[in-house]
């Protein structure tokens, strides 16, 4: 089998394994509009890549995958650029606050506990709610009531209007089909940015449900806009990580990239054929699976009682 040496990770990997891994995560990224960092980093660690190198190289890889994904979704008219920009600005601000918060907590000595608990609660809560909600949607479909996700979403917009209209700086986000205050996506961006910094991930898997349930955006626009926002977040992370921590393994990133860019294109095509509820239930199952694995890891007695410092 063909192996390649990763000079920054200090290990060699099977080329086909990493291509496959990139392809799999790229597919998910194209379908759901998540970066896949919450899946890729643990998977890479399983194959012997140090946690810090895994996370940083994955960000590099996501830049490529989300470029390809954003482009594909733009062609389909699924990217709400003003919405994406607002989320991005909020996200960068929130991320900076989050990083400082983690520094403070580390100094106080209970950061790891907070990180683990945030992970389990966020994954479990988000996954559980999405799963339940989409299951209801699918059941209604089966009963012959032609309730598509889009209709449901428009109804929900009606319900939320009174509160949202009171906020200043109202703006009509055309692609998202909603008129809300600019402060809304901005503050959501800040919130997700803080959470993402605490959890050490891009935050796609939090951003997507937030756009669906809080901003009531159509699922397909959510995916495109999320990818657009992730692209810029990861460009920033890649440069910062290369500069301050020397943890971006270029060889690893390029291998993952080759797999994931192709996966992302395939994912976009798959995403087009699936219904919103089907998309949501699949993402929910995936998030729940990671949550269960993480909880098991916290409850079971570890085989080795020490770990190399560096990861979460």
């Amino acid at each position: 089998m063909l192996h390649m040496y990763l000079p920054i990770a200090g290990n060699s990997v099977n080329v086909f394994l990493i291509l496959g891994l990139g392809g799999f995560v790229g597919l998910l990224s194209g379908i759901f509009g998540v970066g896949g960092g919450f899946l890729m980093t643990p998977l890479l660690m399983m194959f012997g890549i140090p946690p810090t190198v895994a996370a940083a190289s994955d960000s590099n890889q996501i830049v490529g995958a989300s470029t390809s994904g954003t482009l594909a979704h733009m062609r389909l008219g699924n990217v709400d650029v003003p919405m994406g920009l607002m989320l991005l600005i909020g996200g960068v601000g929130g991320g900076t606050v989050g990083v400082q918060l983690i520094k403070l907590l580390r100094a106080m000595g209970n950061a790891d506990f907070l990180i683990a608990i945030t992970y389990v609660i966020m994954l479990g809560g988000v996954g559980g709610y999405m799963f339940w909600e989409s299951l209801q949607g699918l059941k209604k479909d089966k009963q012959g009531i032609a309730v598509t996700a889009q209709v449901e979403e428009k109804e929900s917009v009606k319900g939320g209007k009174t509160f949202l209209q009171r906020l200043p700086m109202q703006y009509k986000f055309e692609k998202s089909g909603c008129e809300v205050s600019m402060l809304m996506p901005l503050s959501i961006g800040v919130l997700v940015g803080i959470l993402a910094a605490i959890m050490g991930v891009g935050g796609g898997f939090i951003m997507v449900p937030v756009m669906v349930y809080l901003l009531r955006m159509p699922m397909h626009v959510v995916v495109g806009t999320s990818l657009f926002q992730i692209l810029f977040t990861c460009i920033n992370v890649t440069i910062m990580q290369s500069y301050s921590n020397h943890t971006v393994d270029f060889v690893l990133a390029v291998l993952l990239l080759l797999g994931s860019t192709i996966g992302a294109q395939a994912g976009t095509a798959v995403s087009k054929r699936l219904k919103a509820d089907q998309l949501k239930i699949m993402l929910a199952s995936l998030v729940l699976l990671v949550c269960v694995k993480m909880t098991a890891g916290l409850l079971m007695t570890p085989a080795i009682m020490v770990a190399l410092k560096g990861g979460h």
Binding site: P7, N60, G69, L71, S242, H246, V248, F250, I304, A307
Partner: protein, 262 residues
């Protein structure tokens, strides 16, 4: 007076003899139990498609002696997290511990049949023998336990190992016998300078040692990337982003080409 003088001379010569004994014994045994060592190559290049390798080591040892081989790497400070229970039931990385003066690589190779006798603290071989060189921070931490767990972690990546029954002897000739062993160089063994040591042992005592250096160095693409990442990190970051975007766009264009341009 003369009696005192006699006593003094006797004591002096006795002490002198005592000092000479180990020296004489050592040189006598060295002549008898001399060990030699030769590496098939003393530099291993880590190039683009490198996935660890093997290295043949051979030598001669006195016919009555056994030989143990030690491969050890640069001593370093290791930062670890000790796992512990939080809130009574959640296992997490809890305390920070630092192991100082810990070898990055430690591998022991022993001949068939006598492995147990040859891996011992007295001979300075095996993990237990390393323990006295290593110090722990904070000092209140359980050094033996932490190091034992660290060894398990390193054994998983192949850089710590005890390869029992891996040294093969040849037929004796002129009071000496040849030995041969194939060293396993795992891909996780980083670029650096390592030591390969052959230790001749007889009756539970070290008789002689021979040592040779082994260099692992990056070459080709890994060398270029590594120097760029550490020497020009900002340029490296921008390059990584640029290549990622270019690849993403290229794949996007290829796929659009398939679906027809608009």
């Amino acid at each position: 007076m003369s009696l005192m003088r006699l006593v003094k001379i006797t004591i002096a010569s006795f002490l002198g003899a005592l000092l000479l004994v180990p020296f004489l014994e050592c040189s006598a045994d060295a002549a008898m139990g001399d060990v030699s060592l030769e590496l098939a190559q003393d530099t291993i290049e880590i190039s683009t498609f490198y996935n660890g390798t093997t290295l043949e080591v051979s030598g001669d040892v006195a016919v009555d002696d056994d030989v143990v081989l030690l491969v050890s790497g640069p001593r370093e400070e290791v930062h670890l997290k000790e796992k512990g229970k939080v809130a009574g039931f959640l296992w997490m990385n809890k305390k920070d511990v630092i192991l100082e003066n810990t070898p990055a690589v430690y591998m022991v190779y022993t001949p068939e049949g006598s492995s147990e006798k040859l891996v011992s603290t007295d001979l300075g071989t095996g993990y237990q023998a390393l323990l006295s060189d290593i110090s722990i921070m904070p000092e209140s931490a359980d050094k033996a336990f932490i190091f034992e767990e660290y060894v398990k972690l390193m054994e998983q990546s192949g850089v710590y190992a005890v390869h029992a029954a891996s040294v093969q002897y040849g037929t004796p000739e002129n009071g000496m016998k040849s030995f041969k062993v194939v060293l396993v160089i795992p891909s996780k063994m980083k670029a650096g300078t390592y030591s390969v040591e052959a230790i001749a042992v007889k009756g539970g005592v070290v008789i002689d040692r021979a040592q040779s250096g082994l260099i692992l160095k990056l070459s080709g693409l890994p060398a270029v990337i590594s120097s760029l990442a550490y020497e020009r990190p900002l340029l490296f970051g921008f390059m990584a982003v640029f290549i990622a975007i270019a690849t993403g766009l290229l794949i996007g264009v290829v796929f659009r080409g398939g679906g027809g341009a608009h």
